[in-house]
Symmetry: C2
Subunit: 404 residues, 2 copies
C-alpha cells in the first residue's frame, strides 16, 4: 500500500491533522498485490470513489439493478455498509500462497477480512467492502438422505444429523482480477487482455484501456460458492481432502434435467465430501457460476436443438462440434482461473479429485497442487439421457478408470 502521487505523499505527511481529513480521503492508494500483509497490499477501492484503485464495482453482475434501486430512491448512493457483525464465522488464512507471486490473481485473498484489516480506512470514509463472506450453514440434499437410507453413510450427529442435514461452512467469493497476473497466467500481454475485455463486451469499461494505472478489475460475472464439509482445519498437509469444482448447470443442478450428468456428479461429490469429513478429512465443493460452459443458457439450449435436429442424429462424435458451430468455441470456462480458490484455502494436495475433466485436472496440476486420485462418476449414476455427453467427454480426454 503506497501513496505514490505527489499529492498523496504530501497529504500523508500531514495525516495527523484533522483539518486535512477531507483531503486525505482523496489520496490514491496503490495496490501492491503480492505483499504478505493486508496493509502493505492495500484495500480494493472500487466504484467512482476518490482515490480508487480498481475498475468496476462490487457485485458488478447486479449493477444494473443497483442503478434502478438508486435512481428510484430506494438506495442512497452514500450508504455506508454496517459491517461490524458480518465477520467470517471461521478464520481462513493467511497462507503463504496469498503472497506467492502469480498464485492468486482472480480473487482477493484478503477479501473476507476488510472490516478489521482496513478499519482505519473505513472509519475515514473510504468505501472498502468484503469481496468474500464466510458463514455457517446446514444443507438438506436428497442425495445425502438417500445415502443414509441406503446405509452408505451413517449419521454422526455432528457432520450429518439423523435427518440428513449436513453442517457446512459456506463461502461466497466475488471475482477480483489482478490484471497483470491474469495476463501472465494466460500467457498474453496485459495490454492485449485489457483491449480484449473492452472489445469482446462491446465497450464495457473503457477504463480498462484508458486507465492502465488501475491494475485491479471487478468483472461483472458470477462468482464462486464454496462449501466446506467437516471442521475447516486448513493449511494442514495431514488433512485428507476430497474436492470437486462444479460449474453451474442450472437446469440439471436445480431441476434435474436429464441431458447431462451435472446434478448426479454434484450429489455424488457431496456424499464423498461427507464421507471424507467423517474420516477427519475435509470436503470442498467449489460451485462456479459459469452456466453452459460460460457460454450462457441461451447458447446451451440452441446447441441442444442443433444436436437433436442434426441430420446425422445426436452423436457423441459431434457433441463438441455442435457447440463450436453455434458458439465458435466449445468451452469458455477458463479453468486456469478457477484454481485460485484452492491456493486461497491453503490446499497443496487433493487426495480425491471428484471430476473427470481433463481441463480442470490440468489447471490444478499446473498450479502446483498434487492430485492423488481422480474419482470417476459411477456409471450407475449416468442416466440414459446423458450418454451422448459422457461418451463425447470420455472420447475427448476425460478421465475414466476403465478407459471406456
Amino acid at each position: 500500500m503506497r501513496n505514490q502521487s505527489p499529492i498523496a505523499n504530501d497529504v500523508s505527511t500531514r495525516q495527523e491533522t484533522n483539518a486535512y481529513a477531507v483531503e486525505r480521503l482523496f489520496s490514491p492508494i496503490d495496490l501492491c498485490w503480492h505483499e504478505a500483509s493486508p496493509r502493505e497490499r492495500g484495500p480494493i477501492l472500487a466504484g467512482s470513489q476518490p482515490g480508487r484503485n480498481t475498475i468496476g464495482v462490487h457485485a458488478g453482475a447486479f449493477a444494473p439493478y443497483r442503478a434502478i434501486a438508486t435512481v428510484s430512491g430506494a438506495l442512497s448512493a452514500s450508504h455506508s455498509p454496517a459491517l461490524g457483525n458480518t465477520r467470517p464465522s471461521v478464520n481462513i488464512g493467511p497462507f503463504p500462497q496469498w503472497s506467492d507471486p502469480g498464485k492468486i490473481v482472480a480473487l482477493d485473498p484478503w477479501g473476507h477480512r476488510v472490516v478489521d484489516d482496513f478499519a482505519a480506512e473505513i472509519a475515514s470514509g473510504r468505501k472498502v467492502q468484503p469481496t468474500i463472506a464466510v458463514t455457517d450453514g446446514r444443507l438438506m440434499m436428497p442425495e445425502i438422505a438417500n445415502a443414509l437410507r441406503a446405509r452408505r453413510l451413517v449419521a454422526d450427529g455432528s457432520i450429518v444429523d439423523s435427518l440428513g442435514g449436513v453442517r457446512v461452512t459456506k463461502i461466497a467469493i466475488e471475482p477480483v482480477w489482478w490484471l497483470p497476473g491474469i495476463a501472465e497466467r494466460l500467457n498474453i500481454t496485459e495490454t492485449a487482455l485489457r483491449r480484449a475485455l473492452v472489445e469482446a463486451s462491446g465497450g464495457m469499461y473503457p477504463d480498462l484501456v484508458a486507465r492502465p494505472e488501475f491494475k485491479a478489475f471487478l468483472p461483472p460475472i458470477g462468482g464462486t460458492s464454496v462449501y466446506l464439509f467437516g471442521d475447516p482445519v486448513l493449511g494442514n498437509t495431514d488433512t485428507k481432502i476430497a474436492c470437486r469444482f462444479h460449474d453451474e448447470c442450472n437446469g440439471s443442478d436445480v431441476f434435474g434435467s436429464d441431458m447431462c450428468t451435472c446434478r448426479s456428479y454434484l450429489g455424488f461429490a457431496a456424499e464423498e465430501c461427507v464421507r471424507t469429513a467423517q474420516q477427519n478429512g475435509l470436503g470442498i465443493i467449489a460451485y462456479n457460476r459459469k452456466e453452459g460452459r460460460a457460454l450462457g443458457e441461451v447458447v446451451k439450449y440452441l446447441v441442444y436443438n442443433a444436436r437433436r435436429n442434426a441430420q446425422s442424429g445426436d452423436r457423441a462424435v459431434d457433441y463438441f462440434s455442435r457447440t463450436e458451430e453455434v458458439a465458435g468455441v466449445s468451452d469458455m470456462r477458463c479453468q486456469e482461473l478457477a484454481v485460485d480458490v484452492l491456493h486461497w484455502l491453503g490446499v497443496t494436495r487433493v487426495d480425491a479429485w471428484i471430476s473427470m475433466s481433463n481441463h480442470k485436472r490440468e489447471a490444478v496440476v499446473s498450479a502446483g497442487i498434487e492430485i492423488v486420485k481422480q474419482v470417476e462418476l459411477p456409471s450407475n449414476l449416468i442416466g440414459s439421457g446423458a450418454l451422448v455427453e459422457i461418451s463425447a467427454k470420455k472420447a475427448s480426454g476425460y478421465f475414466t478408470e476403465t478407459g471406456a
Copy 2:
C-alpha cells in the same frame, strides 16, 4: 425497421446491386420497438458491428470469458453462428402483447425467431443472434418422485413418467432492455436511467450516456429460465394456468440450505405445475437469476452473519433491517421488470399464483394480469431454520391465508 440516416436511405435505394453489399452492411437499422411485425420492428444489432442499434453484447454476463477466449485464440472474433438447426422446439407467439406499447420492455419478444425473421440480414453478414432459445427436456426432481410415492401425484406416462421424470418445454431468455420503456415503467426519465446505469456500475458502458440514439441495451446480468409443464398451448384464455416466479437462491435451490424456504417453495411449485398440467392446464416456472434479492451472495452471507451476531439475536422483526444495514436496501429485484415474460407467453390470467410475495403479486396485477388465487407455501414445508425469514415476510405484507 427504418433506415434513417441519409447514407442508409441512399444505400437502400441501391440495394439490389451486389457492388454495394459492403456498403449495405454498414447501414444503420433503427429499432421500432412496438411494431407488430418483426421486420418492421427490426433486428437487435449488438456488439461493435457496423450499423449497430444496441449497447452491449449477447450473453454479456460472460463477456470477460469471451474476451479471454478471443485473445487466447480459441474463439475467432469473426465467427458466424450456425443457427439453422437451433429453431424453437415449439412455436411461441406472436401475441398481441408483443406490440402493445409498454407491455414488454425487458426482453425481446422476437428473440427466438431471428433465424427466420432476419434470415436476409444474417445472410448479408450482419450479426443477429437469438436472445431466447426454446427446447424440450425431462426433469428429475426429488419432490416429484416424493409426490408419486406419497400418491399426491400419479404417473400418466405423458407429463409424468413412472420414474418421476417430467416432460417440459425449457426456455432460456436473455434480458434485452428497451430503455425508453424501462424508464416509463419505473416512472423515471430515460436520461436519469442511463446516467444511473453508468454511475452505479463505476463506468460500465459510457455509451449509455454518450449514444442516446441507441435505445436498446443488453445488460450484463443473469436472465430467466422458463419451464412449461404440459402442452404449451399459449394465448388461450380457457387454459388454467399455475405459475411461480422463482428468484435464484443457489444455496437453497441446489444445496438445500435450511435458512430459507426457497427450495421448498420451488419443489411445491413444480408439483402444483405438474398437477395443473395433468388437468389439461399449463404450469409455468420462471426462474430469475437474481441471487440474494439481486444483492449477490456475498451480501447475503454477510447478512446471515449480521443476523446471528446481533446482540438482540436473530429476530423476525429485524430481518429486513439487517439487510438494509449492510446493503442500504432490503431488495433490488425490481419485480416490475419480471412480468414481461407472462406477456411474452400470452398470459392474461393466472389461476394459481404460487407465491406469497406482495412485490411479485403487485407487479403482475399492475401489468394487467389477473391473479385468481394466491397459493401459500404449506406450513409443513417450512423448516425450523427458515422460521425467522417466513415470519418476517408475513409481517411485512406477504400473503397468507391464515393471516398469521
